[in-house]
Symmetry: C2
Subunit: 209 residues, 2 copies
Amino acid sequence: MGRTSDARERLMQAAGELWHTRSYGDVGVSEICDRAGVQKGSFYHFFPSKRDLALAVIDETWRRVGEGEAAAILTGSGPPLERVLRYLERGLEEQVRMREATGATPGCPFGNLLVETANVDEVLRKRLDRLFDDWTALMRRALDDAVAAGDLPEVDTGQAARALLAYVEGLSVLVKAKHDPRAVADLIPPAIRLAGGDPEAVRAATARA
Amino acid sequence: MGRTSDARERLMQAAGELWHTRSYGDVGVSEICDRAGVQKGSFYHFFPSKRDLALAVIDETWRRVGEGEAAAILTGSGPPLERVLRYLERGLEEQVRMREATGATPGCPFGNLLVETANVDEVLRKRLDRLFDDWTALMRRALDDAVAAGDLPEVDTGQAARALLAYVEGLSVLVKAKHDPRAVADLIPPAIRLAGGDPEAVRAATARA
C-alpha cells in the first residue's frame, strides 16, 4: 500500500489510469480509493471533490506529456515538419504500449474528459480549453519554424496548428472505434497537408538525412 | 404525455437529446423515463437495457443524419469538393442551432458515445465502428467523384476519407472545448487539403458558378 505520505500521488495515479482506460463517469471516488489503497475518509482530506482530483490529474498529466514530451519534440532539434511527424508517431507508440499493457484503447486523456464533461462541468471545460490553447501554441512553434525554413508556404500557422490539434483529437477517436492504434498509422503523414505541406517531401528529406 | 403507443419513440427521442447535450453516463433510465413521460416499469417492455435503447437511438439517428442528410449532400448534385464543404458547413449550422436551442455544445452524437463507451461496452463500440465505416464510404463517394472530375490528384480516396472523418470528429471535440461551434468555422476549408485538394480553388469555382 506504500507510505501514507504518498496517498495524494497514489490517488492521482489511480484516477488517471482508471479514467483514461475506462471513462470519467464510469469510475467514482470509491473505486479510485480502492485502487490507490487509500481510505475513502482520507480522500476528502486531499481533494474536496472528484472534480478537484480531475483538475490535479489534468495539471500533472499536462506537465508530463505536454510541457515535457510535446515541447521537447515539437520545439527541439531537427527539421520542423519532421518534428511534427515524430511527435504524432510518438503519440501512436504510446497508445500501442497502453493497449498492450491494459487491453484498453485509451485515446486522448484530455479529449476524453472534455467530450464527457464539457456540457456538465464548466470548470473542467475551461481548464481543458486553456490546455488545448497551450497545446496549439506548441504545435504552432514547429509550424512557424517550418515557414521560416521555407518548408511550408506562408500559411496562417495559428489556424494550421488548430487544424492539426483537431486532427490529432480525431485520430484518437478513430483509435477507439477500431480498438487498435495501428489502424490509424497510415493517417499520420497526411497531417502535414493540413498545414499546406507535402508529406512525401518530409519523408524524402528524412530518408536523405 | 401523448399516446401510449408513442412511448417507444418518446423514450428514444428523450434519450437522444439528453445524451447528446449531456453525456451517456450522466443520464440514466429514470431520467429518460421522466422526460419521455413513460413509467419506468414500461421501459423494460420496450428495451431490455440502457444499451439496447442506445443501439436503437444510434440506428435511428444514423438513418436520419447519415443515410438521409449526409448521403443527400455528399452523393448529390454539384461539384464534388463543394459538396464536401457544404456537408461540413451544414454540420456546423446544426451545431449552432442546437447551441441556441439547448445552451449545450453537443458535438458529434456518435463520437461522444464512442469516446465514453469504447473501453467499457464492446457491443456499442462495434456498432459505432461499423457506422464510422459507412460514414467513411459516403465521404469517399464524393472524393472518388472529385478524382474522376480532375478536381483532385490520384490520391488514395479510402485513406483520404478516413482522414476526413478523423478531422470531422476532431472539429467536434474543439467545438466542445470552446463551447462555441462558430470558433471552428475557419477550420472547415482546410479539410479539403487532407485529400490533396486546394480549398481556395474550390471556393473560387463556387464563386464563379
